[in-house]
Amino acid sequence: MADTLLDIRNLRIEATVYPPGEPPRTATIVDDVSLTLEKGRVLGLIGESGAGKSTIGLSPMGYGRGGVRITGGEVILNGRNILQQSKNGIRKLRGREVCYVAQSAAAAFNPAQRLMDQVVESSLKHGVANRAEAEKRAIALFKKLSLPNPENIGRRYPHQVSGGQLQRVMTVMALCPEPDLIIFDEPTTALDVTTQIDVLAAIKDAIRDTGVAALYITHDLAVVTQVADDIMVLRHGKMVEKGTTFEIIKQPKQPYTQALVSVHHIEHEEKQPTPKPILSVKKVTAAYGNGIIKVLKDVTVDIHPSQTLAVVGESGSGKSTLARAITGLLPPQQGEIIFEGRKLSSRLADRSKDDLRQLQMIYQMADVAMNPRHTVGTIIGRPLTFYFGLRGAERDKRVKELLEEIEMGAGFIHRYPAELSGGQKQRVCIARALAAKPKLIICDEVTSALDPLVANGILKLLLNLQKMEQVAYLFITHDLATVKSIADSIAVMYRGELVRYGSKSQVLTPPFDDYTDLLLSSVPEMEIGWLETAIAGRKMASAGN
């Protein structure tokens, strides 16, 4: 083990937590985790939120977020135990021996400084290079990560470059002082799939060419398959399984790993369109800023009773705006919304109470969509009182029925949102939407903020409820895997336009238009070598054009 770079032994990390209404107590965030990393290797740390993967990832930098403390074990980097270093000693290795690439580059860059100043900062601080040398190296790295205009991009401010570019600049910032180890903490999670693939390829090339070792933290097994040599699966702060990438994805031993590997397998048979759609969007054009910024252009789609229309697209494609136009939050400039054969008023304020009841919404962020000071019973009971005038015992009875329907049980009626897990919160939001007995529920990225297994549970629940309650869904998402599991028909949107629309089988069967092809080919698959094949396919396609 001559070239062992990082050796973590029996790491134990604790934090003080403050549960509502209870005295503070100590919680174990990471429990007895050991790992070794050799020079030039990439180890993927994978797990759900709360698995402790970021906390472990930050331990070689001697850093604990939000007051967590390392209370046991050893973290040996380049032969020195990090935990015995003074504050000064730790500062000397941060940004020199270990560098960090954060999830959201947009937030991780200082908005008031030019990119170059930030990229060379640690090299100058640690005396690795003088300013001219550091800038030269940064420009070479900008080139390597295929950033446009590498000579001058450093003069820009963070808000002047795109999210995907910023993530690559952040990688350059980590590479610039030539560290031995880089911690990548979900570096592509916040990006669109078509951007993610390029950033992923750039990161992979950079790791290979510079020979730096890396800890790659993510919740997405398909992504980590592309970059990691080995994978460690974590859950609740404990190690579940460790092995080579091939072993983990092809021969997982633990049931939890097996569940993660097979997460996207939901059987859903596509239903045929009916002659009478429940809601039709006809030639709708909508804009923000007094009609100047057009975000929806001439969009026409139908949603059929008790079926699901999935609207897919990247950020800025107009998919959420479509929902706002249908609900009346953003009255369209042109076109109309037909519900059960009659035209709905374009403005929310002009719609009848019954029209409002028929269309309900579920949002991405369940925790901000609920009043934290209301109990679950109040949250679900409110639409019962508002639409049906139910009160007292009658209302409680109905709330309990709904809680059973969302597979949580009547016991939750007096709980507060803060006491629920992410998946449970989203279930309460679903129950609140169902309470109105709507014909159509608009689901806006409802599983995007959830861990894969939890998201899977929510999708299964939605499908069951569709059968029981005969409700139609307009399902907005950027995740094509989700679409395949739940949709009956699909609308693909790009920059406000509908580029492809039809039944699920039609949309997902070749020949594809260019954009749908790009979108489909960008979704990472859990196959070693997928990234190289996809990139090569793209290069061929662009050479052919």
Partner: protein, 318 residues
Amino acid sequence: MSPIVRLIVQRIALGVLLLFLVSILIFAGTQILPGDVAQAILGQQATPEALANLRAELGLNDPAYFRYFRWLGGVLTGDLGTSLTTGQEVTATLLPRLWNTLFLSFWAAIVAVPLAIVLGLISARYRNGWVDKLISGLALTSTSLPEFFVGYLLIYLCAVKLQWFSSISTVYDGMPFLDRMKAIALPATVLTLVVLAHMMRMTRAAILNVMQSAYIETAELKGLRPIEIIRRHAFPNAIAPVINVVMLNLAYLIVGVVVIEVIFVYPGMGQYLVDHVSKRDVPVVQAVGLIFAAVYIGLNIVADIAAIVANPRLRHPK
């Protein structure tokens, strides 16, 4: 037009409009004061004829809007009217006093602003430690004490007991600079103590707010020292709220010196105002009110513009 120029022009136009509205308020305010100017000038023994003559002479019988526009026209041409009590041109008596007030406020600001910001940065660096608590405690104590109390305390200690300074801050034309500085030392110290805490607490709060940002974590993980992080990454992003509170306090330094000028018998705007309010000298009160309003609005525009210019998104559009 670049967005930044448009925003600045907008702010200035708004400021002018606001000043115009304030001039109406000032005029209306002085009109509804109880009592009669002519009576105040001539005293209780004046004959009705004398009162009527004086009223006609002063134009007090004209309708209010007429008198307002006459006054406004004068203000726009630099003529603030004639003092009713002394018969002197208001502009000529007011300018040296305005200069005195600005001189005092300027030196108080020169000391107070950098001191407050540096103390705020130090407090943020050692947040919740004893240094932070000591700084906050002293600053809050000095602010909580009324300024007349601090003023008399300093006079008692520095002028009466130690005899370092004079208890009366007299200044006159042609006074040597150093003598003038010695004269304003005590009132400037009191002013500094009054405004220090507000600016210092705001700097601290603005920095601590920025310290929650993800880019501060980035800086920590680059191995920067806490003070470097504050100086390079936190302070440049906290500058807008700090500028705002600094300008607010500068305005207070100029507008709020009334009490201090009276305590130290300093010949500035504040004392001038107090003297003439008691004599019901309407033109002087109006003039001083308008100048105070202009200073207040002007400094707030400067704060707004500085905050706009400090925002990189506006300085460097996409």
